[in-house]
Symmetry: C2
Subunit: 346 residues, 2 copies
DNA sequence: TTGTAAGCGTTATCAT
DNA sequence: ATGATAACGCTTACAA
């Protein structure tokens, strides 16, 4: 019982393969022809082979979204937005996961070159020469949700994290916090570098100096927990009691922490709780990404909305546009951030 | 600058296409041949067309995992496990998302029939005749992570939620809780039905009666929050104060809530907090799935581990085995649950 | 060891 | 309107 092909259907219907193909693709045919083909198709349970079809047509009507870590909730926001746009355009979206390394990313882009997708949407954590090169040489259009050098000449949609950082710091300062610490992810990543720079600038804008800065090994909850103590250091409950008993403005103790993403922020909150510190009373916490985790966390997390949904949407649109016309000039879109204030800040 | 094909490489190298193919696939060839082909490949930046290749070979070396909701953290656990198994076997995993409806699921299975994957792993929320039929008729092997009727004759790996429910109830009862409520997801789903039944049985086993039962519209955080009040009902902070002032055993007030998954459980915890109730002091909460969210939530959530990782692993193995031999007898594996005790229970 | 040629299952271009 | 047939880019007998 081998799978039926268009030839089998043609034989069963007593017509030519060309006619079957036409009927299936809604091209003009007589009533009777449609009828006969339809019956044969139903009878045999025939389903066209997508590979053969796309080999001929040159299109798969599939788009691939590659994310670094499926466990990062920021990607679900993005994924939802991308899905909406591409499915409206008649494409199916498939998601594949790369590790945090550039090499995986490069391998993906290279392999996707003649693959099962008409386009590729990537959001790489790390970018190097090789990656840029493989993107440019890729046979299918690639758009990057993230930052690559302008001279690379690829479509990109990126966030404005310095601006986002400023929003966070403005808010904290307005609430009277001055001793602001920063928990970054790996600084050798694109977002890590951008956020480090943004944090420094934002503090400078307020004439403040960082209370502490730490770098987690990864943009994950576990890494956040692991790195938090270094940030909080001597901030134990013991000392808090002392602080409360003596003065409300002991130098050098953070009264606010900004984390480079929501996962890290939640990790910090857990460590704060473990140290007997209250959020936001003792320490305010703000995350970045404004993912679903931000509202699910407790207390709900104030988070910088870096526009993941809009970035996903715009990136998808860029990809569709480039599939349509590969000669158009590369665009570089940057979406503006906003601040979602919740209960982890006063 | 059209994309180079194997013919182009052959021409450039001055050899036949067969030789190019052989070299690329590591078949025996002379030093010199390998050398010439390699050079031409590099020069032209040739990448084989996966569709053409798989059309010929009959395999794509891609496997598809379809999940109902990318926002549900239980799927990331599963996805990680599946990824590990299939990539070790030389397959690439792609993830696609269906909605909560059967029709989407059926469409996916039908469409995948002759698609870009050698196998399909689905975890459907709802199952009906049509879905079972489409699975049986599917041209590529399908394994179901979930429950379908034995007579369907398809490979399945499912959880034992009644047993899991019992674990949860045992634990709560051991901690002295007797007024146990249950927040289910939609009861017309496979997991919803199983958990409702399991909850009833578990309470019966302890000679207890449900303190309250509610049904959320969806297995999501938002639905959990929305449904929680119905469950907690008159359990406002006002009344808690009264309760504390009068008696510690007011009939009919839940002192524990079991939720059908972690997302719902976290939703309940938020509502409890909003009502001024403490977890676990006033109300204990236990979730199901033991997803990453369980440890990220605050307080960390006691959760029934329904073996998502193991289910993913076993399902992936089943799929690989069936791809290997489509005639083997269908297997139905059930994986046993365990309880991950955290701080949301006493 | 290498080359020639026949498909894999479609669609599209021609005749008819 | 329908039918024969040549591609699409690759692998694999089979021949040389």
């Amino acid at each position: 019982m081998s799978r039926p092909t268009i030839a089998g259907v043609a034989r069963a219907a007593g017509v030519s393969v060309a006619s079957v193909s036409r009927v299936l693709n809604g091209l003009p045919a007589t009533e009777e022809m449609v009828e006969r083909v339809q019956r044969a198709v139903d009878e045999l349970g025939y389903v066209p082979d997508a590979r053969a079809r796309s080999l001929k047509v040159g299109r798969t009507f599939q788009l691939t979204l590659a994310v670094a870590d499926v466990g990062n909730p920021v990607y679900v926001t993005m994924m939802r937005a991308v899905e909406e746009v591409v499915s409206a355009a008649g494409y199916r979206l498939v998601v594949t996961t790369t590790g945090p390394d550039v090499v995986d990313e490069v391998a993906l882009v290279r392999g996707m070159a003649r693959g099962y997708a008409d386009g590729l949407l990537i959001s790489p954590l790390r970018v190097d020469e090789d990656l840029v090169k493989s993107i440019r040489e890729c046979e299918v259009p690639v758009v990057v949700a993230g930052n690559v050098p302008a001279k690379a000449g690829v479509d990109t949609v990126r966030a404005n994290s310095p601006k986002g950082m400023l929003l966070a710091v403005d808010h904290l300062v307005a609430k009277g916090r001055r001793r602001i610490a920063f928990l970054n992810g790996p600084a050798d990543t694109v977002p890590g570098a951008a956020r480090a720079k943004g944090f420094a600038e934002a503090l400078r804008a307020h004439d403040l100096r960082p209370a502490a800065v730490a770098e987690a090994d990864d943009f994950t909850f576990a890494a956040g927990r692991a790195a938090a103590p270094a940030l909080l250091n001597s901030l134990t409950s013991e000392e808090v009691r002392v602080r409360v008993a003596t003065s409300s403005d002991v130098r050098g103790r953070p009264d606010a922490v900004i984390a480079a993403n929501d996962l890290l922020a939640v990790g910090v909150m857990h460590e704060l709780a473990a140290a007997g510190l209250e959020v936001p009373a003792d320490v305010a916490v703000v995350g970045m990404d404004d993912s679903e985790l931000a509202e699910q966390s407790f207390p709900p997390l104030t988070s910088v909305n870096l526009g993941s949904a809009e970035r996903g949407r715009r990136a998808a649109e860029l990809l569709l546009a480039r599939i349509e016309d590969n000669e158009r000039a590369p665009r570089r879109i940057v979406v503006q951030p906003s601040l979602s204030i919740r209960r982890s800040t006063p």
